[in-house]
């Protein structure tokens, strides 16, 4: 696609964002409602010298993405709930071996097959804890077609910079929503390229400098690569020595902490004096935005905090936004997932409540507006 205005579905915007970010490998498997990402990639990648491959299943798709990334090419896959479940073990490997990769998960109603053609926001906790063990990762939640495009680009940048899997979580509504977006001109984007090892003899694949991020090597660049899912020391080889494990795991689990400002993206609307704060993400945040505006028109001091980065959660930013709040409302298209994190972060005296839908329908502005009014009246 050339630069300029275009009418795009969210799924196509995701594919084009990935191409713009430098993604040159996509491995996937058909699954509703994400299939159009794969289909678009199958058409776009050959035009830019990339490779699209349809794998035999979701596990293999994720493994191929890790292989391509370890081989030195920016890589991604796309899926939905059931496929996301199958990818989890390999996502853990990406966290452990620090292999950059991007996973788009177009959320649909679950559990199990659930409602393949209906939207949901029910993989928020799976995104964070779907793979076993403690592991670093980043999850982003765009709320519009334009933002899917931009956050997909950002996902690649974060993934390449911090060597973590980055998930782009959106839902069936935005995936299939048609919105006008402006596509950037080639060369106008700030793209992050992975830091490659420089060929020193003393190269330690998992030894990091002050920023906590080791330089990576790839086959063909002169180093012998050894990439394992076993707990490994700085030299990349397995270890079970408690002191070494503590040291390397402290770095692995803490490496995102010092880069919070770069990673944690969010938006605040009318939060400064907000007594009723709505915390919403993705499609629900669009309904919340309107509800908050309506509440303001009726004289209620309502505000919206919209995390774009869900994991790691922008904790300090929420604390600041909720500073004046007496109550916090978290509308989500699930049975109550991010609300747990919000509850944990807010002051004890703040009343935190969820507004949940699990019926495959987006939350309506009027539902949120009604709850805002109730909460304001209770305060």
């Amino acid at each position: 696609m050339t630069a300029g205005m275009a009418n795009l579905h969210g799924n196509h915007a995701c594919a084009l964002g990935a191409i713009a970010a430098g993604c040159r490998f996509f491995a996937g498997y058909p699954i509703t409602p994400s299939s159009e990402i794969a289909e678009r990639m199958s058409r776009e990648l050959p035009l830019v010298g990339g490779t699209f491959v349809q794998m035999e299943d979701e596990i293999a798709s994720m493994a191929a993405v890790l292989g391509a990334s370890a081989g030195g090419v920016k890589s991604m896959t796309a899926t939905s709930g059931p496929g996301f479940s199958l990818k989890q073990e390999n996502i853990g490997l990406a966290s452990m071996a620090e292999i950059p990769c991007v996973i788009a998960n177009v959320m649909r109603g679950g559990p199990s097959t659930g409602m393949p053609t209906r939207p949901a926001q029910s993989d928020i906790m799976q995104a964070r804890w779907g793979s076993h063990g403690d592991h670093p990762l980043i999850a982003l939640a765009p709320a519009s077609v334009k933002e899917i495009h931009d956050q997909t680009i950002r996902a690649f940048n974060l993934s390449e910079r911090y060597r973590v899997p980055v998930m782009v979580l959106f839902d069936q509504v935005i995936a299939h929503l048609l919105e006008p977006i402006e596509l950037p001109a080639a060369g106008s984007l700030d793209l992050v390229e992975r830091r490659w090892a420089n060929g020193d003899d003393g190269y330690q694949p998992y030894a990091a400098g002050a920023d906590g991020i080791p330089a990576m090597t790839r086959p063909g660049d002169g180093h012998r690569t050894h990439t394992t899912g076993l707990t490994h020391a700085e030299d990349g080889f397995p270890t079970q020595d408690p002191d070494t494990v503590t040291r390397v795991m402290d770095r692995l689990l803490g490496k995102l902490d010092q880069h919070g400002q770069d990673i944690e993206a969010f938006e605040c609307h009318d939060t400064k004096d907000a007594e009723v704060l709505v915390v919403a993400y993705g499609i629900s945040a669009r309904a919340a935005r309107r509800a908050v505006r309506q509440a303001r028109e009726r004289g209620i001091a309502a505000g919206l905090f919209r995390p774009i980065t869900l994991w790691p959660f922008p904790e300090q930013a929420l604390r600041t936004a909720a500073d004046q709040a007496r109550s916090v409302l978290v509308p989500e298209m699930n049975a109550g997932q991010l609300v747990l994190e919000v509850e944990r972060i807010c002051r004890d005296e703040v009343r935190v409540a969820g507004l949940n839908r699990v019926d495959g329908q987006p939350i309506e502005p009027s539902q949120i507006a009604r709850r805002i009014e109730e909460m304001a009246a209770d305060d």
């Binding site: 498997y29 058909p30 699954i31 509703t32 299939s35 794969a38 289909e39 199958s42 058409r43 050959p46 699209f52 349809q54 035999e56 299943d57 059931p82 199958l86 199990s112 097959t113």
Partner: protein, 304 residues
């Protein structure tokens, strides 16, 4: 179990077990096969269905099935069938099931699971000698998600993920051959447009125990691009061009139950479907057409 005799179309069951009005597409070749096979399998069948088009057949409170149906994740239907078979055997041993309740466990999947994602589970079920029948409706693509390429998509076909000028570069996987190499009790290919051949084979499969395959070509109006009224005609052409050989593996030997003679040119079949239209327009892709014809010719040369 004694095998019922189907000498002519008059012997085929006249009452259909599968209810009408399912959510399948009009003219679905897979539904045609399930309907015909179900009449022979009987209402005591327990279906174990991996993700695919047929998982949409039952929309509560309506189901076209007379008996039970269980969903499994896409890769796992034969593993789910193992559990169902074992549980039924346990309950039968305990006397909880009447002798007459001879429940047949049937795995029902499309080609996405059958040829691809579920193949490992199939292989393991055959290894364990699981007593089950695998009914695969092969519509040569991921029909339920918009006809992306599957391991069963034929050479030259265009799909949602293979839009290149020449279509799919690879060859359709020989699932029948893979099953035969694993020496199952029985394996056969069928098509809904040949109901007598289908009924005989399903009856033969049902009369045996152990791992058994019924592999059905399922012409797909939406995925292949043809009018729903053409499903039967396209099934006939698949057989008469030699593209879909009707055969069975029984007692260690592969026998063809129909030898098309004379064989029609493959173009008679290909030109009926939009997925092959790029091979004819704007001008014929003689190379790919010749490759497809050569592949069919080579198959039958080896047989004859």
């Amino acid at each position: 179990m004694k095998e019922p005799m189907y000498k002519s179309a008059r012997d085929l069951p006249s009452a259909h077990l599968l209810g009408a009005g399912t959510a399948m597409c009009a003219g679905c070749g897979g539904l045609e096969v399930v309907r015909e096979a179900y009449d022979v399998l009987g209402e005591n069948t327990v279906f174990v269905n991996a993700a695919g088009c047929m998982t949409l057949m039952s929309v509560y409170p309506f189901t076209p099935f007379r008996g039970s149906w269980l969903y499994t994740a896409m890769a796992s239907a034969p593993a789910g069938a193992q559990g169902v078979r074992d549980a039924l055997d346990i309950r039968r041993a305990k006397g909880e099931l009447e002798a007459g309740d001879d429940l047949e466990v049937v795995v029902l999947t499309g080609d996405g699971a059958g040829y691809g994602m579920g193949l490992s589970a199939t292989s393991a079920a055959i290894d364990r000698g699981l007593d089950f029948l695998y009914l695969c409706y092969d519509n040569e693509g991921y029909g339920n998600t918009g006809q992306q390429t599957s391991p069963a998509t034929p050479h030259g076909a265009r799909t949602a993920t293979d839009g290149a000028l020449a279509g799919v570069a690879g060859e359709k996987k020989d699932l029948f051959g893979i099953w035969v190499a694993n020496r199952p009790t029985y394996a056969a290919t069928v098509v809904g447009s040949e109901p007598l051949d289908l009924a005989r084979k399903v009856a033969r499969a049902k009369s045996r125990s152990g791992p058994r395959l019924i592999l059905a070509l399922a012409p797909c109006p939406t995925g292949w691009g043809f009018e729903p009224s053409e499903t039967v005609a396209i099934g006939h052409l698949a057989v008469r061009t030699g593209i879909w050989p009707l055969k069975e593996y029984v007692d260690g030997r592969v026998e063809h139950t129909r030898r098309p003679h004379p064989r029609l040119p493959v173009t008679d079949y290909l030109k009926t479907q939009a997925r092959f239209a790029h091979l004819f327009e704007p001008e014929p892709n003689e190379q790919v057409l010749a490759e497809i014809q050569a592949s069919v010719d080579a198959y039958w040369d080896a047989v004859e």
